[in-house]
């Protein structure tokens, strides 16, 4: 099935959505079987620690993700949300993950937390290695659920996109913060937890922490709530903070403050941040390493300098071109990448960007490209380049 020749695809309708009753039944039967297998694995109790202890490839990393596959077994077929993602989060660094909506950024982060919405969502393959503060390395994909509870919120904390809905509306801020302390710190008492919560609220720049402590979420503004979310994430000194579009729902003036706060706090606790966003400005400002995702795969990754100054993949180049800035002449239209992401249920077996790429060659429709190494930190998956990182000559491109 070619994407360019199929009229239905041109209209954005995919034939795979129309299923016969028999196909549908077969899918749900198969799904049920697979899901059952994975769920049983996760619900095991009293698992020997040896089963999920592992070694880091590089001890300076907090988290190493390798060949991660997270699939959703839906009624219309398997959605490969994350399809072979590998990257490292080094200690004390900010890793920015960019990509358009639905490209698997959030699912990657939820996989690290073992929070992929089940039972349809399952980590199918690959490994996520996490190095705890005591030097032990855990394989998160093999960890049983109850053991993971001790890492969540304590060692790896998460800040979500929607501060307006991410706090429980019926509990006071104080209660929701104390809960984390009481849960993860064994010697804590309600009084010590309260003290710590108020101290934390002060640290994230809340002027009247006692008052906020005793408030309900609806009594605070969006920016305040996001500060509370950050305070809550930081309260147990996590080693990794996953910030899933932390500024998307906030207005611009607050955005800068929140980002500044995140950076300050990272310095203070010497933790790492995985910053998920589709705002390239935020990435340029904050990140040390950038990972560009497209349709469940990493298509390019490198340091901020490499990605912003010498983007290699046509998609990254397109992204750079499509952001507003000084490179736009007056009256000129903002660049946009034409076309749409392929249907996640029926992924093609060649480059996912093929049908949108203005540099597409014949070879691009004949298998997914391998990662090409440009520098020790810079990789991209594209046929435009030779194995040594040099761009292919025009006639060579022609030939292919």
């Amino acid at each position: 099935m070619s994407f360019l020749n199929n009229d239905k695809n041109a209209e954005g309708v995919d034939s795979s959505v129309y299923l016969t009753l028999r196909e549908e039944r077969r899918i749900s039967r198969e799904n049920a079987k697979i899901i059952k297998k994975y769920e049983r694995e996760k619900n095991r109790k009293k698992v020997d620690e040896k089963e999920y202890l592992t070694e880091m490839r590089d001890p300076s990393n907090v988290v190493e993700i390798e060949n991660l596959h997270t699939y959703f077994y839906t009624d219309v077929g398997v959605v490969k949300s994350v399809n072979g993602v590998s990257f490292d989060i080094p200690q004390g660094k900010i890793v920015g993950v960019v990509g358009e909506s639905g490209c698997g950024k959030s699912v990657t982060s939820l996989s690290i937390m073992q929070l992929v919405p089940g039972p349809t969502g399952q980590i199918v393959e690959g490994s996520i290695r996490y190095k705890a503060s005591d030097g032990k390395c855990y394989e998160i994909t093999k960890m049983p659920r109850d053991r993971m509870l001790k890492i969540r919120g304590k060692d790896i904390a998460m800040i979500f996109q929607e501060p307006m809905t991410s706090l429980n509306p019926v509990f006071k801020i104080g209660y929701q913060m104390d809960e984390v302390v009481l849960l993860h710190e064994e010697e804590s008492t309600p009084e010590s937890a309260k003290k710590k919560s108020i101290e934390m609220l002060k640290q994230v720049g809340i002027a009247d922490p006692e008052k906020v402590y005793a408030s309900y979420p609806h009594e605070l503004s969006g920016g305040m709530r996001q500060r509370v979310m950050i305070a809550m994430a930081l309260i147990c000194n996590p080693r990794l903070i996953i910030a899933d579009e932390p500024t998307t729902a906030l207005d611009v003036t607050i955005q800068a403050q929140i980002l500044e706060l995140l950076r300050e706090i990272k310095e203070k606790i010497n933790g790492s941040i995985m910053l998920i966003t589709h705002d390239l400005g935020v990435i340029a400002e904050m990140a040390d390493i950038v990972v560009v995702m497209y349709a469940g795969r990493i298509i390019e990754q490198g340091t901020v300098k490499e990605i912003f100054h010498s983007p290699k993949h046509p998609y990254t180049i397109g992204l750079m071109k499509s952001r507003p800035g000084r490179h736009i002449k007056e009256g000129e239209k903002l660049y946009s990448i034409k076309g749409q992401v392929p249907n996640p249920i029926n992924m093609p077996d060649y480059c996912y960007f093929y049908n949108r790429c203005d540099k597409a060659m014949r070879v691009c429709s004949q298998g997914y490209p391998d990662l090409i190494k440009f520098s020790p930190t810079h990789y991209a998956a594209c046929y435009l380049y030779n194995e040594d990182g040099s761009e292919k000559s025009a006639e060579e491109k022609e030939r292919r």
């Binding site: 890492i151 919120g153 706090l167 429980n168 019926v170 849960l183 609806h218």
Partner: protein, 332 residues
Amino acid sequence: MWKYLAKRLALGVLILFGVSILIYMLTMLMPADYIDNQTAAALQSGAMTKEDVQHLKELYGLADKSFTGILKSYAKWLSNVMKGNLGRSFVYGRPVTEVLSDYIWISFLIAFISYILEIIIGIPMGIKAAVNQYSPYDYTVSVFAMMGASLPSFFLSALLMNVFAIRLGIFPLQGLTTATKIFGPNDHLQIFLDKAWHLVLPITVLTLLGVGGTMKFTRTNMLEVLNSDYIRTARAKGLSEKTVTYKHAFRNTMIPLVTSLSGMLPGLFGGAMITETVFAIPGIGYMALRATQQGDIPFVMGYNMFLAILTVSGMLISDIMYMVVDPRVKLS
């Protein structure tokens, strides 16, 4: 808040006034009134003349069925009500208030017990079904809930009576006491047990009818809450699934649950007309049905006004409970 309550109470009075006019008109316009019902046989056999009937109607205040006549008699009824006098029931020959207060309690008892049962069965089932969405448990419970909720009460009653009273003979068929048994004046325990035994089937019927709704309502609300962002936050904090479900999620599900269930409380005094009639239990619903069939205007008015008051106060309680359970709601 007090201002709000005062406003709501004033509005309630206004609603009751409107309701009373409407019901009065409707009952007065019923084709055969109490006197017609009572004298039909005598009129046919010639024992009474039309004049006698007309005379009786005048005595009962039912003679003038013109619009102004109805208004006049309504005004008279209203002024009596203002003095706290709901009139005398035609059928039962006693003051309406007395009849109401005599028969209310058995109805309330039945309704209250099944209400409690509905809550303690329906809510945990709803939660479990929501947590295990699309599991065999969820499907089974949902199907039974829908069956219970969609069965007509008379049919379910007849079914249970057939199986448990007639075929198996475990429970009595009808009534509140066993007529063939003679109790001494001090056999309180026996009398109590005898009555409880009679009430098992009607309570079962009411519970089965209601539990499905409660379960479905809990399940729907729980599912909505379980998919919200703050539940993901709670999980991300490292809380166990039990704490997430029963503390963070259920506390939010409780908002619609408590408000709707507390709003139902006053309605428990209203009686279950059909179930009580099928089981011949002398509750308020049974009495009201008999009175309505015979055109007992004072009783029908009194009963319906009582129901209207229950409904209005149910809504008020609902609103107040909203404020109690949801910190975001301020009544003003």
